[in-house]
Amino acid sequence: MELKTTYLAKHVRDLKPSGIRKFFDATAGMKDVISLGVGEPDFVTPWNVREAAILSLEDGYTSYTANAGLPELREEIAKYMERDFCVTYHPESEITVTVGASEAIDIALRAILDPGDEVLVVEPCFVSYAPLVTLAGGVPVIVQALKENDFKVRAWQLENAVTERTKAIMICSPNNPTGAMLSKAEMGKIADVVKKHDLLVLSDEIYAELVYDELYTSFAAIEGMREHTILVSGFSKDLAMTGWRLGFVCAPAEITEGMLKIHQYAIMCASTMAQHAGIEGLKNGRTDVAEMRKSYRQRRNFIVRSLNEMGLACHNPEGAFYTFPSIESTGLNSEQFAKKLLQAERVVVVPGDAFGSVGEGYVRCSYATSMAQLQEAMTRIRRFMENL
């Protein structure tokens, strides 16, 4: 009998590996590297939050929790969402604690998609969106946020992409990789499209706390949108808890019930000690979040002006901790620029096309790194630009 050439499923074989992975490998073994390629805070989780996890271990909380998460944590999430974002979710039927926002996105897509259903994926975006739609049996339909609009998608673009099969729109604002945040007015127009076609918004609000100039508006807080929104968030970015893998998803009861089925079969529950840490983070971590926000804001201002001064034009990102400068003036493409910069000056940036083809001609620079490192990185990039 002839052996199979591969055991892998076709749709998995067809998945493109992440462009970021490739770049990570290139830095292996290099010394004195400054990385602006990191998509996570440079802060360590606040001590009181870490201590809460330690105490929970000491107290012997090492078993499973309820599938949806510790009741106390869900109650704290409900209070927090109401207090900070003016959206009301019932802790028992509308909130699920997940293994990071990534799992939340996965179970949301799997819960709502029938085979062939289309999801509008706004690019540039986090690398997992389109692949997760595919893995859930859906069809990702790419809508490109345009550079002339500072990478903020417009409602008419979404309207034009809607078909009979469209089920949902995936949006991340403030955005990874561009840092762009949709205005409340534009969100209202997008909400109209969603309601008109009876769609869902899968709103990735993981950066909601890291907003620097204006107030943040959640999609679920827009009139009539609560029933059309699956709100994904988590603890990774604002409380510097990436490694804990703790997120949550809020959605109307019917959708939550569907997601919970998948979550209970695939995951059981999020890590118990992480959940205990999360409770402390919501109860007593807000001062730390405010401190970190202030620090990010200063660094954003610093890097944006520095990059613009050296000829790498970049818009002012309203949130998250990324800048997305254009490298057009160098005549290089994104990957060439990133490679040359790494070789010449040992500074890591991520090619913009890793986040969708519309990101070609741009690179993502994270400013979640210390001021001293940022200053040195700017000196090196300036020298790189002068020697081009």
Binding site: T27, V38, G39, Q298, N301, R305
Partner: protein, 166 residues
């Protein structure tokens, strides 16, 4: 004195790192260099920024002698001037690094630095306890500095993050 949010922010930034240039400050606060220079000048002139200093870990330096003592001082307050006169007579001494008026079981907390235990002992017995109004002193020698002014000494600043992540 009422300061604007930006003026306060610049004071906060400089408190953490006084070596940032006006140009860096301007970028961080999104102002022009002239504007930041003016704010820094104002903060200096108004004595909001009192002095720029470095945090030095002297234990790193071979052969560097030195001890720090924290002394609890009980004082009889005087009519009209309270504790101020005694505090002044204490802080005028070169060896005295800080003096605070405290709530609780004693009145003044005095931080003294000297070359040796003997030197500090000499200061306490000959200078401090003889000041008119000082009732008693309790001297505590510092054995090790773990954290000072918000900075952890010997902190491992290693970045544990992977170099590239989505």
């Amino acid at each position: 004195m009422k300061l604007t949010a930006t003026e306060i922010e610049i004071a906060e930034i400089l408190e953490k790192d006084a070596r940032l240039t006006n140009e860096d400050l301007a970028k961080m606060t999104n102002l022009s260099i002239d504007q930041t220079s003016a704010i820094v000048k104002k903060l200096e002139e108004e004595n909001v920024i009192v002095r720029y200093v470095s945090l030095v870990d002297w234990t790193k330096i071979d052969g560097h002698q030195g001890v720090t003592a924290m002394i609890d001082v009980k004082v009889t307050p005087k009519r009209d001037v309270g504790f101020n006169n005694v505090a002044e007579r204490i802080y005028r001494h070169r060896e005295v690094k800080s003096v605070y008026l405290m709530s609780g079981t004693y009145d003044l907390s005095v931080v003294v630095e000297g070359q040796s235990v003997n030197e500090v002992a000499h200061f306490v017995s000959q200078k401090l306890s003889t000041i008119d109004g000082v009732i008693s002193t309790t001297t505590h020698f510092v054995l090790k500095k773990y954290k000072h002014d918000g900075t952890v000494y010997n902190q491992d600043d290693k970045d544990n993050r992977i170099v590239v992540s989505p």
